[in-house]
C-alpha cells in the first residue's frame, strides 16, 4: 500500500539542495567557447564548493495549503550532508544525515535514529517536493550525464549557455534529459528535467543573485511541477557561508542527534 504512494514526491526538486551550496569562483577564461563539460563541472564546483554552512527557508506550496520550514544545512564534497529543521517549533530538531548512499533520519521526540529502507527512498523529504532519493544523489549530474552545448545568448552583460545533458545509457537516473542554463560566472540559472519521452516534468529556476562570501550566488530557488504550476517548493537562503572544509564529526550519527536536541 505504501508502495503505491503517489509520485508527487519525486517531482519537484532534484537538485535543490545540491544547488544551494557553492564556493570558489572559478576563473572562466575568456577563450573562444568553453566545453559543455567544463561549464557544468565548474558550475557544480561553484555551487557546492568544498563545504558550506547555511540556513534556509523552504516553503511548500499546494492548492489548499502551504508550509514553511526553516532548515540548517551543512554540506561537504559530493556525498555528505546534514539537514536539521529549526522551525516550526513542532518539527524542530528533525534531522536527515546523508553519507555515501545511506540516509538516516532522527526525530527528537522519539529520540531515535532510523536508517531509511529502500521502500522509503522515493518518499517525500519532510513533506517537501524533494524525495529522499533526490537528497541522496546530488552529484548525479556530474557522473551520470553527457553534456553538449546547445547555444549561448548574451543578457545583461553576461553570456548564458544552454546545455543539454543526456544520461549515460546505464546510469541509474530517472530523467531522460536535463536542460541547464548556466551564466558565464558559473551561476546555474535554470534546470529543466525531462522524462524519457522528452516531455518536461519539473523545472527549477534560480533568482535574486547576490554577493555572498565575496562571490555571486542566487538566494532564491524555485522548483515547479510543469504540469501543475500551483504545486511548487521555494527555497530562500537566509545565511550562507562557504569554507574549505568542515570538521568530519559534523557528518556523523552522533551529531545528527546532538544537533537535533
Amino acid at each position: 500500500m505504501i508502495l503505491s504512494y503517489p509520485p508527487l514526491l519525486w517531482r519537484l526538486l532534484g537538485s535543490l539542495l545540491s544547488w544551494g551550496l557553492l564556493l570558489i569562483p572559478s576563473m572562466a577564461s575568456a577563450a573562444p567557447l568553453p566545453s559543455a563539460d567544463t561549464l557544468v563541472r565548474d558550475a557544480f564546483e561553484y555551487w557546492r564548493g568544498s563545504a558550506s554552512t547555511a540556513r534556509l527557508t523552504m516553503t511548500i506550496h499546494r492548492l489548499s495549503w502551504k508550509r514553511t520550514v526553516s532548515i540548517d544545512a551543512w554540506t561537504q564534497g559530493e556525498s555528505e550532508s546534514l539537514f536539521v529543521i529549526r522551525a516550526p517549533a513542532k518539527d524542530r530538531g528533525n534531522g536527515t544525515l546523508k553519507k555515501g548512499r545511506g540516509m538516516w533520519i532522527y526525530n527528537p521526540k522519539v529520540n531515535r535514529v532510523i536508517k531509511l529502507p529502500p521502500s522509503m527512498m522515493s518518499q517525500s523529504w519532510q513533506g517537501s517536493d524533494f524525495s529522499n532519493n533526490d537528497l541522496a544523489k546530488t552529484d548525479s549530474l556530474i557522473h551520470d550525464y553527457t553534456h553538449t552545448l546547445k547555444h549561448h545568448t548574451t543578457h545583461g552583460g553576461h553570456t548564458i549557455y544552454t546545455i543539454k545533458s543526456t544520461p549515460h545509457p546505464d546510469a541509474a537516473v530517472i530523467w531522460g534529459q536535463i536542460i541547464l542554463k548556466i551564466r558565464d560566472d558559473h551561476i546555474l540559472l535554470a534546470e529543466t528535467f525531462f522524462d524519457e519521452a522528452l516531455e518536461p516534468v519539473k523545472e527549477m529556476v534560480a533568482s535574486d543573485i547576490r554577493s555572498v562570501s565575496g562571490k555571486s550566488f542566487p538566494m532564491v530557488w524555485k522548483m515547479v511541477q510543469v504540469e501543475s504550476p500551483d504545486r511548487y517548493t521555494r527555497m530562500v537562503y537566509e545565511t550562507l557561508a562557504f569554507s574549505q572544509g568542515l570538521p568530519s564529526h559534523i557528518f556523523t550519527r552522533a551529531n545528527l542527534i546532538s544537533s537535533g536536541r
Binding site: L3, P7, P118, M121, A172, E196
Partner: protein, 407 residues
C-alpha cells in the same frame, strides 16, 4: 435372445423411450459439460497458481518463508542441485531465483514491486514468464541490464519498451543500491496484480546488484503433474539439512487454491447426485409404466417357466440399453459442446475484478479428461441400473394368475 428381446422391448413405445432418453441425454450432457468447465477452470487456476513463481515444490531458507528479504537467502551451492535434480521425476524442471522487495522508479512514477532475478533458460520451463512475453523479447545472451515488466505496470509508469526503469533495493550488507535497467520485454498475465507486482531481471544482474554472489532466494521445482509433490518431497528431504532449508509444496503456499480445488471437486459429485436423482425418477417411472402395460406378457413368460431372476435380468437389460443409448447420445452432445465452446472459451473479462479476486482465468476453456468421462458415465450407468431394480423386482413378483386377472 434376452438381449434382442430387451432391445425390441424398449422400441415398442418409441415416443416414451425418446422422452426418457432425452432426460438421460440432457443429464449426462450437463454433467459432462459442467465437469469440463470446472475442470478447465481448475486446471487453469492450478496451472497459473503454480506457474506464478510457486512451482510444485519450493526450497528456501526457513526464515525466508515468512519474511522474504535478501538477508534470508540460501548459502551458495546449497542445496546441491546436482544431487537433488537426478531424484526428481523425469520431465521435472527446476530454477533458482533471487526474489526481494524493491522500488521501481522513472520520471513519472515510483512504487514498490517484487524484483525477481531469473535464470532465463531454466525459468522458461518452470514459471509463466517464459511464455508470457507479448512485446519485446525474453532474455537473450547479452541482456545484463534488461528488465521484463508487466503490461499494467508499463501503463502505470507511462513508459514503453526500450525505456529505462531505475530499481532500488537493499543489498546483503543493508546498503541501498540502485541500478538502471532497460525494458526489453513486456509480459501479460490474467492477473493485473501479477503484472503490477513482478519485475524480472537476469539472475546474475540481481545477484551482483544485491551483493549475493552465487546465493539464491529460492529454488522452485515444477513436476510434470500435480499429485506427486509429497512423495518427491519425501525423497529429497532426507538429503537436506532442515535447519538450513525449508521445503514447501504448492499446497502450503497456496492454501486457498488447494482448498478451493478440493471444494470444487466435491461439489461436482453433489451435482452428479442431484442430476441423477432427477433422471432416476424418470427412469423408474417409465420402466414401471412399461412393466404394468406388459403384465400379461410377464405372466405368460413366468408361466412358460422363466425364473424371477430371468425376468429381473430382462428388465435390467432394457434399462441398460436405454441408459447406454442415452449415454451415447449425451456423450456425443457433451463432447461436441465442449469442443465448440473450447474454440473460443467463455470470456469473463467483463467480470475481471471478480475473477481476479478468486485467481480465476479471464477466459475459461472447458477441458475434457477421459477419467472424468468415464466416472460420469459409470456413475449414471451404475446408479441407473440400481434404481431399475425396483421395477424389475416388481415385474418378477408378478404371478401368472395375477397377470391374467389384470386388464
Amino acid at each position: 435372445m434376452y438381449r434382442e428381446l430387451a432391445w425390441r422391448n424398449i422400441w415398442r413405445n418409441p415416443r416414451r423411450t425418446l422422452v426418457i432418453l432425452t432426460a438421460v441425454v440432457i443429464g449426462i450432457w450437463s454433467i459432462i459439460f459442467l465437469r469440463a468447465l470446472t475442470r478447465g477452470m481448475e486446471s487453469e487456476m492450478l496451472a497459473s497458481g503454480i506457474k506464478n513463481l510457486t512451482g510444485h515444490i519450493q526450497i528456501q531458507q526457513p526464515r525466508y518463508v515468512d519474511d522474504p528479504v535478501v538477508d534470508y537467502s540460501m548459502d551458495a551451492g546449497y542445496p546441491p542441485m546436482d544431487v537433488i535434480a537426478p531424484l526428481l521425476p523425469l520431465g521435472s524442471a527446476w530454477a533458482g531465483r533471487v526474489r526481494v522487495g524493491a522500488v521501481a522508479a522513472n520520471a513519472r512514477h515510483s512504487g514498490g514491486i517484487t524484483l525477481v532475478g531469473i535464470d532465463p533458460l531454466r525459468e522458461a520451463s518452470v514459471s509463466f514468464i517464459g511464455g508470457a512475453i507479448t512485446g519485446g523479447h525474453f532474455f537473450g545472451g547479452s541482456d545484463g541490464n534488461s528488465v521484463l515488466v508487466g503490461r499494467a505496470l508499463l501503463e502505470k509508469y507511462e513508459t514503453i519498451l526500450g525505456r529505462k526503469l531505475i530499481l532500488m533495493s537493499q543489498d546483503i550488507h543493508g546498503e541501498i543500491v540502485s541500478r538502471a535497467f532497460r525494458i526489453t520485454g513486456i509480459f501479460d498475465s490474467d492477473m493485473e496484480s501479477v503484472e503490477k507486482m513482478y519485475l524480472f531481471i537476469p539472475l546474475e544482474a540481481a545477484q551482483s546488484m544485491l551483493g549475493l554472489g552465487k546465493r539464491l532466494s529460492e529454488i522452485s521445482i515444477l513436476l510434470t503433474d500435480t499429485g506427486h509433490e509429497v512423495s518427491v518431497v519425501g525423497r529429497i528431504t532426507p538429503l537436506l539439512d532442515d535447519s538450513r532449508l525449508a521445503i514447501t509444496t504448492w499446497q502450503d503456499r497456496l492454501p486457498i487454491l488447494a482448498a478451493y480445488l478440493n471444494l470444487s471437486g466435491s461439489f461436482i459429485y453433489i451435482w452428479y447426485g442431484v442430476v441423477f436423482i432427477a433422471m432416476g425418477f424418470g427412469i423408474v417411472n417409465t420402466t414401471l409404466m412399461a412393466i404394468f402395460e406388459r403384465m400379461r406378457e410377464f405372466g405368460l413368460i413366468r408361466a412358460l417357466g422363466v425364473s424371477p431372476g430371468g425376468i429381473i435380468g430382462g428388465v435390467i437389460l432394457e434399462s441398460f440399453f436405454l441408459l447406454l443409448l442415452g449415454l451415447l447420445v449425451g456423450n456425443l452432445f457433451g463432447m461436441a459442446t465442449v469442443f465448440l465452446v473450447a474454440i473460443h472459451g467463455i470470456d469473463l473479462s467483463a467480470l475481471s475484478a471478480g475473477t481476479e479476486m478468486w485467481g480465476m482465468p479471464r477466459i475459461i476453456t472447458p477441458m475434457l479428461r477421459c477419467m472424468d468421462l468415464f466416472i460420469a458415465n459409470a456413475v449414471i450407468l451404475i446408479l441407473g441400473l440400481g434404481v431399475s431394480l425396483y421395477p424389475a423386482i416388481k415385474a418378477a413378483r408378478i404371478t401368472p394368475v395375477e397377470a391374467l386377472r389384470y386388464t
